[in-house]
């Protein structure tokens, strides 16, 4: 029941939408969301789209992870440079 699936909106008919879940199309209710458009990604949960998925926020998460990786590389380089030959 905690399972939520990222799904892409294919078409909209009132409160209902056809969404693509990894290529399989199913009907979903979009009544819990406002301003959903064709092409948006939503999180599907027990037949309802409960949130829109934000591409900007996803990108931001990757930026944070990338920076974490860079900090790690810098630290490693610093440790290496301190080691006597």
């Amino acid at each position: 029941m905690c399972l939520g699936i990222p799904s892409k909106i294919v078409s909209i008919d009132g409160d209902s939408a056809i969404v693509s879940v990894g290529g399989t199309e199913v009907e979903a209710s979009i009544e819990l969301l406002d301003d959903v458009k064709v092409g948006d990604f939503v999180l599907l949960h027990t037949g309802f789209a409960i949130q829109k998925i934000s591409p900007e926020e996803a990108q931001e998460t990757f930026e944070i992870l990338k920076r974490l990786g860079e900090i790690e590389d810098e630290l490693e380089a610093e440790v290496k440079s301190r080691k006597p030959n």
Partner: protein, 359 residues
């Protein structure tokens, strides 16, 4: 971006594991309270990637697991009424009641149908006007909000033969009860989809009252590892707060429309949780306005006396006090194909996930 594979990237996983290992200086216990996290953590082998300082505990996040036998017994009793069609998510069907289960009743001829959504149950009610269609409403805030939408739809349509038998619960009282009971938890890996509905405000008391941080996490390995790293940092810096790792899905305010719908259709009541007992204001019953769709109020039924299972330590597993492998029934008398306790039945149960991925 499809929002799955990107969050399973092997290099990011390795980098985060190194970061966690170098940041963990003392013993830290982190608990997830979501069946989806239980499953994902075992599936991706996250415990095997942790340094010895970090203990991952599985809490009361599987709705089927925390629900008492009394609920199953009552659902079984409803299913025996000739005018009733039971509609349910698949998880519940194999959960043993005191002397029967829904799957056993189905094999004896009861009309029990597995649905994907409450909307399927409404459709069955429309197609069977001479029958009473009962939807077994189980789950936490995310599922409860879709149940609320379904009940309201039935009410507006005057679909008088549709009922919900609610076992819906809310998460924070259980999270508090565990800490109040003295279970050592340094941080909660907070449920992603519950939070997509509720937002951050339901967790605000944990950092303030208990010095326990909450990081709302996604369900892919990179999500879970990043959340663990964020919680370890909170412990190291002795600053506890509510943070969102799963920002692509969870805005801090949650889904306000869904919150309002839940508040309209449901009212809080005291509820029983396996392992934790009765917790004040932790359950959701149908509100007065929508009482015509409340199976408990509208359909009378005689329910057998509840007999709890013997030897199963599901209650202690749900509190993080014991591991599935500590149970003497685990893997012998209790397996995926022949489960004794609810934690082995549900895909989201700790025993099921542990058995599936570690056995």
């Amino acid at each position: 971006m499809e929002y799955i594979d990107e969050f399973r990237d092997a290099e990011l996983v390795k980098m985060l594991v190194r970061k966690i290992s170098s940041a963990a200086h003392k013993d830290i216990a982190l608990m997830e309270v979501c069946g989806g996290h239980t499953w994902a953590i075992q599936k991706f082998g996250i415990p095997s990637l942790m340094p010895k300082e970090i203990r991952l505990l599985s809490g009361p996040g599987c709705p089927v697991c925390v629900t008492g036998r009394k609920y199953i017994d009552q659902a079984v009793a409803y299913s025996r009424l000739p005018e009733v069609i039971i509609t349910t998510f698949g998880d519940l069907i194999r959960v043993p009641g005191s002397t029967s289960s829904l799957s056993l009743e189905k094999s004896k001829g009861a009309d029990i149908r597995i649905v994907f959504s409450i909307l399927d149950a409404l459709k069955i009610a429309r197609e069977n006007p001479s029958k009473k269609v009962i939807f077994l409403g189980i789950g936490f805030e995310a599922t409860a909000s879709s149940s609320a939408a379904g009940v309201k739809k039935a009410f507006n349509e005057q679909l008088k033969n549709f009922y919900i038998f609610s076992s819906h619960k809310i998460m924070p009282p259980a999270m508090s009860a565990l800490i109040d009971e003295g279970i050592k938890i340094n941080g909660y890996i907070a449920p992603g989809h519950v939070s997509a509905v509720t937002g951050t405000k339901i967790y605000e008391e944990f950092p303030v009252k208990y010095n326990v941080g909450c990081v709302i996490s996604g369900f892919e390995p990179v999500d879970i590892l990043q959340s663990i790293y964020m919680l370890v940092q909170q412990v190291n810096e002795d600053r506890y707060s509510v943070e969102i790792q799963y920002k692509r899905v969870v805005p801090s305010e949650g889904n306000i429309k869904a919150q309002m719908l839940m508040a309209e259709v449901f009212a809080l009541r005291d509820d029983w949780w396996r392992g934790l007992g009765i917790l004040k204001n932790s359950g959701l019953q149908v509100s007065e306005k929508y009482a015509v769709h409340d199976a408990e109020k509208m359909i009378e039924v005689e329910v057998e006396k509840t007999i709890e299972e013997k030897g199963c330590i599901c209650g202690e597993i749900l509190k993080g006090l014991k591991k599935p492998s500590d149970c003497k029934l685990f893997g012998t008398a209790c397996t995926n194909s022949n489960p004794v306790g609810a934690c082995m039945v549900s895909h989201e149960g700790a025993c099921n996930a542990y058995f599936r991925f570690n056995k």
